[in-house]
Symmetry: C2
Subunit: 117 residues, 2 copies
DNA sequence: TAAACATATGAACATATGTGCATATATTTA
DNA sequence: TAAATATATGCACATATGTTCATATGTTTA
């Protein structure tokens, strides 16, 4: 015998209702892609570095022990999802965090890290 | 001729300094894994559904057009990263969002979605 | 205009990941 | 204890992803 009352499954109607409250396939897909882009040490490092201010590819190359093409590929991924933006300055391509959303996300990560001792 | 002053690359010292401000490899790895878990329509749907309250596997199965084993696999992934937790209630395994961090994350997604019209 | 520099891209390969199927485990009910 | 129910797991396969190498593009300087 158990103290806990047994769980009562919701009927199909309530479940259908629940389903309506979640984002559409399209929206989920987009969210997915964004998280996918963040599932990469390289791209996370880039975002953390850029969160301090704009940097060109050369600087990122100096900071990260990763080849230039690999960095460019990562930047493209981040660019395509509008997580970073480029501005051409002379011969350099200066990348920066796209907007406050992304800044918030990075801050969130920092907090998460610091809270886990 | 251009109005913009050309970008000036930071020297290696400043770059080394920048590097110190980003999370350690270990922490990055953990963040990576979390985002990795979120890069899945199935797992995102599960999280959105659970954000309304605890649900057992059976209910998730009724809501999602996905096989029971696939759902269990997804739940395991989420469990291992402590994004969801289980509580056994009789013969049911009731899953719920692990903590406020995760709730915040899901809310963030909802906001993101609603702000992009 | 040639050379040097900064960045981007494409193809290819190795590895990671998700899903289905079969099946194992655990709990409850008869 | 047998049968039914609820969930978990292992394996295998198809697909997705990241990285490297070679090379293309674009910009500046000599």
């Amino acid at each position: 015998m158990t103290d806990d009352p047994e769980h009562v499954c919701a009927d199909q109607e309530s479940i259908s209702l629940l389903l309506q409250s979640i984002p559409s396939e399209d929206e989920l897909c987009r969210i997915c892609d964004i998280f996918g882009a963040l599932q990469s040490e390289t791209r996370l490092k880039i975002l953390f570095l850029l969160s301090g201010g704009g940097l060109c590819v050369k600087e990122l190359e100096g900071a990260l022990d990763i080849s230039q093409p690999a960095i460019s590929h990562s930047l493209r991924t981040l660019r395509q999802l509008d997580l970073v933006r480029v501005k051409k300055e002379g011969r350099f391509a200066v990348y920066h965090i796209a907007d406050e959303h992304v800044h918030t996300l990075i801050d969130m990560c920092r907090k998460h890290v610091s809270e886990h001792e």
